[in-house]
Amino acid sequence: MTTRPVIRAARFVLAHVPDLVYAGSKPRRETAARGRDVRAQIRSRLRTFREAVAYAPHQVMIGNQAPEALWDLPRPWHLHSPAEAPCEGPAGAVVDQPTFYAWLARADTARLIRFDEAFAAEAGPLVRGADLATASPDALQSAVASGAEPIGDPDGRGIGVLLPGHAQDESLAARVLLENLATKATGALALRRLLDGVAGDEPVDFLLGCGEEAVGDRYQRGGGNLAKAIGELAGIRTAGGADVKAFCAGPVHALIIAGSLVASGLHRRVVVVAGGSLAKLGMKFLGHLASGYPILEDVLAGVAIDVAGDDGRSPIINLDAAAVHRVGDGGAPHQMAAVLTKAPLRARGLRLSDVDRFAVELHNPDITEPAGAGDVPQRNYKMIAALAAQAAEIDREGIPAFVRRHGLPGFSPTQGHIPSAIPYLPHAIAGLTTGRCRRVQLIAKGSLFLGRMTEMADGASFLLERNAG
């Protein structure tokens, strides 16, 4: 039996965790190099939960605003937030730090967290049913001296510590486990939110993880299958699971594979899931401090995307227009763009202009520009527009108009795999069902070369099309 695969829904959860910014890779390295003053500087520019919720790009992530609304909002966007905004939206939610900590506690199946006694007493209602292991402040301090990782502000009152998983295994070091637990918790938050809102009575057959974490011990570092652990934490019993690894391109690869699993009839419902990246918190904090910005990288993002058989309504993953960047393809930006955007369209007799919106890496430029990394989506859109000009679809003067008509402003937190095209999915689904869109192309790229195993980059794309019923 075969069917056309559709994407029924996508949900994002942003966990606002200002006290974990210090545990990000960059803040940690800068603190080691320059001392605790770094943490004091960060502390002075952390956002409140209310500020994080009201931040316009976050409102776009959870579906309360259209991405296009950001075109008209003066930047930097944090200066133009309303005083209040809802923390829930049709595409997800922003959750506060106590809620995240409660999920972190539930995620700790190995019982390696030792909670501060006072925190455990206060958090009681949030962690109903959980049997929390507690310790006194002195015992926590002594654990940190022996390799435990503080959870929360190391100079203030944290919630406790995470013990190493093994005394000599660096893959189970406490800081590695904290990253992985944070990913598991945020992935489960997103998955739970999806299933609470979409076809909760239909079993999930398979979970495809697509995050960038590395779960395993010293004999299988990065062994993976966090997907199943996320499913367990989210209370799912029917699904199997496995992970797809492809750096930031992972989610788009995973959606193509999920669509294929559904199209083949092997599974009826596959959920693509990923948690957030603790290592990337505060990644560009130096630029933010230098620009007088708040620390904008203070959220962990989780995502869950529902792929099922044709329901006659939801947009279709057109597997005939799926593309991957092959080993023999060139890696220059124009070559990547041609392989991932133009070629699969041409094969179906379509022009670039026939795509209503291209969803590329949607990094929020407010985060990247102060650190000198530029506006990533706009660079990608200019490249696609240049290909349209090269193909004589538009003239050179039409490039800015093409970018505005077919592109998007960036609005995603810089959480690695999260910004790669998928933040547009909730908006694309709306546009392709109740709106006027006909087709959206999702394009992701991955920096494989960072792992030192190859000089190659990677990429994948597919076309999401209106369902004619």
Partner: protein, 43 residues
Amino acid sequence: MVDLRNKLVLALGERDGIPGQALQACAESAGARVVYVATQCFV
């Protein structure tokens, strides 16, 4: 115009811009010796 002949070059590429290897090829074709090449990802 910079004359790259006999110069030592550090080639730092960027994923969404010019890859390090392309910079290396250009610099070497202009007579430079590339002593370090890397491609970075800034997101």
